[in-house]
Structures are given as structure tokens and as C-alpha cells.
Amino acid sequence: MTVVLSRNCATELLEVIKHLDKEILKRIPEKVIKMIKERSDSSYRFQYDSRIPYAEQKISTETRLALARIYLTYCCAPEEADDLIQINNHMYKKRRAETTEIVHTIKSADIVAPIYSDVVVIPKPKETRAIVNDKTYEVNSMVDVTIDNDEKIVIPENKDINNAQTVSNNQQMVEKKENFFTKFIDKIKGLFKK
């Protein structure tokens, strides 16, 4: 399987390369840098923040991968490159196994999450009900439910079931008004028909 460098990736890569240690940069052939430059897209804006360490930069995985591959190809001895590839593969499988374990734990709590992603995202349930002191509360998302130091569920204001019912009653009143108005129009239309 091969990956062709996308234009956005080439643009990011070009910016990243500008910050490379000279010892690494001197080993990358000039024609490779020229190719990356030709491939880059000036309309795509990307800025490398040199105050932040490389590990914390907001760079796409595709760009990180491309840089790693360039590094393996031009900056490492073949044995060293093989060594790094083996380390990556070992750690990748380990990470994947750990992520799977987390996902199984989450699944057992009836929450579905995507497998093998870098970050496990727990989707917000559409509706959640919480019972506190024999009262039923309805909240829009899990994020709205917090637990304070006494382990009581704290519900944000104006999100209980009573409010939700008030809203639905209002909707019913509007519907009745519409019906009356429609009937009135129909009566006038009827007069003209006569």
C-alpha cells in the first residue's frame, strides 16, 4: 500500500522541514525538497508554531507519517530504519490492544465508541434521565451531568422534566390557534363560494 502526498500535506511538510535540525536537513536531497515545494499549495494556510514542541504541534498524521518516512529513507542507516519500523509496529499493536481493551470496557457499559482511533470518543446519548431525591430529571447530554464531592448528581438549572412539559404545552396552544385560524379562513372561503 502506498500513500501519495496530498497538497495540504506537502504544504504542512514544507513548513515543518524549515524547522528541522540542520543535521537532518542536510541529509535530505534537494530534489526531494523541490518536489515537496512544487506539490505544496500556497492557498492552504499552515503555520508551524516554533514555541511549541514538535510532539504537541497541530500537524496531521499524514504529515507526521511523511516526515517519518523521509527520515527513514534519507537520514537513517538501513538497519536503523528497520529498527525504528519494528519499534513502531510493536508499539502500534500494543496501543491497539490497549484501545480495544478500553473499548470493550466501554461497550460493557452499553456505550458504543469507535475502535482503534487515537482518541476514544464517547458519543453523547440523545436523552438521559436522572433520578435524584425521587424526582426524575431529563438532561440533554452526559456532559451536563456532573457529580459533586458528596456524590450527588448535580443537574444544571432549567433542564428538568417540568420545563420540558411546559414547552410541549406551549406547542399545543400554538397548534390550537392554528386550527381556529384555519377554520376562520375556511368559513370566509365558504361565504365566497356561496
Binding site: M1, V4, L5, D21, A55, Y71, N89, M91, R95
Partner: protein, 183 residues
């Protein structure tokens, strides 16, 4: 709280050492001695880190191991640490944190400096080597330079799909689509 024995730490170390390149192995000849000599301190660090249940045992070990190694570097840099003023101690604390966060880069930098000194037929002390390594890396960090260790760390963390991490070809860099046969 789990009671760790020296063999437990050695087992965790074996796992941690899988992230070393073969060329780095000489850097880590004394690692097992570091664990033996700092066993009590490492236990304190591990137990303190694992109090937070989101921290895995492996991660806690890594942090403890780097912490005791950073202490070793500080001892080399400041043999007279006990007599340092409070102001100096505060600065040393910051340096310890820098070494802790950049452990692998500093180790590699030390190795490079030793090679350079040898080529120059220059005699050196460990203190000179570590001081230069730390200062070199500080300068690079301040300038926002991406080091070899930065790129390698992505691989050491296993960030890339093994199927995609191979050597690059010029065709890929040029962005030309490959034919099915070439694929």
C-alpha cells in the same frame, strides 16, 4: 497499593527498553544498575503516580525511571548541590524538569558530544559532556528546532499504521498517482 519487588521493575524495564534502537543500547548499559541503586525512590514515584488510576503501571514506571535518571544527571551537574542557595536550587529544579522531559534527546546529545571530543582528542569529564548536551538542547528548543529524537518519538509511540510506515519513493513525493500495477 501494589507491593513491587525488584523483579517487577526489571520486567517493566524490559518492556520499556523495547523502544530503544540497537544503536542506543550502549546508552542504556547502566539502566539496570540505575533501577537497583534507586529502587526505593522508584517505588515512591510509582506508587505516587499510580494513585491516579488513569496512569498505567507502564507509564508510572517510565516516569519513575526518567525521574531517577534526571536526578543522576543533576548530581553530575551539581556535585555540591547541598550547599546551593535557595535561588540556585530553584533554577536547578527547573533544569531537572527540562532533563526529565527531554531525557532521550539529552542522552543522544551526550553520545554525540563524546564522539566529537574523542575525534578532537580532547579529554573530558562527564560534567562537561552533560552540561554541553543540556545547553545545546535548550538552545534548540528555544529556537523551535525539530530534532531526530522528535521524529523518532512518533515511531517509538507507535503512531503509524505499520502498512504505511515504509520507505518513501520519489513518485509519492511528487504526488503522481500510481497505476494499479505499481501499487
Amino acid at each position: 497499593m501494589k507491593e513491587y519487588k525488584i523483579n517487577d521493575l526489571m520486567k517493566l524495564y524490559e518492556d520499556y527498553a523495547k523502544t530503544y534502537k540497537k544503536s542506543e543500547e550502549e546508552l542504556h548499559n547502566d539502566d539496570k544498575n540505575v533501577i537497583y541503586n534507586n529502587f526505593e525512590d522508584m517505588l515512591k514515584y510509582i506508587n505516587s503516580a499510580t494513585e491516579d488510576q488513569s496512569v498505567s503501571e507502564e507509564k508510572a514506571f517510565e516516569m519513575a525511571f526518567k525521574a531517577v535518571k534526571a536526578d543522576d544527571y543533576i548530581e553530575v551537574l551539581y556535585p555540591d548541590l547541598r550547599n546551593a542557595s535557595q535561588e540556585e536550587k530553584d533554577a536547578i529544579k527547573k533544569e531537572r524538569l527540562f532533563i526529565f522531559r527531554n531525557m532521550q534527546d539529552i542522552e543522544i546529545e551526550c553520545l554525540t558530544i563524546k564522539k566529537e571530543f574523542t575525534l578532537q582528542e580532547r579529554e573530558y569529564t562527564n560534567q562537561e559532556v552533560v552540561r554541553q548536551a543540556v545547553d545545546n538542547l535548550k538552545n534548540k528548543r528555544e529556537a523551535g528546532v525539530i530534532t531526530a529524537a522528535d521524529i523518532e518519538n512518533d515511531m517509538k509511540k507507535g503512531k503509524f499504521d505499520p502498512e504505511k510506515l515504509t520507505r518513501i519513493t520519489e513518485l509519492e513525493i511528487s504526488g503522481e498517482e500510481k497505476t494499479t500495477e505499481e501499487r
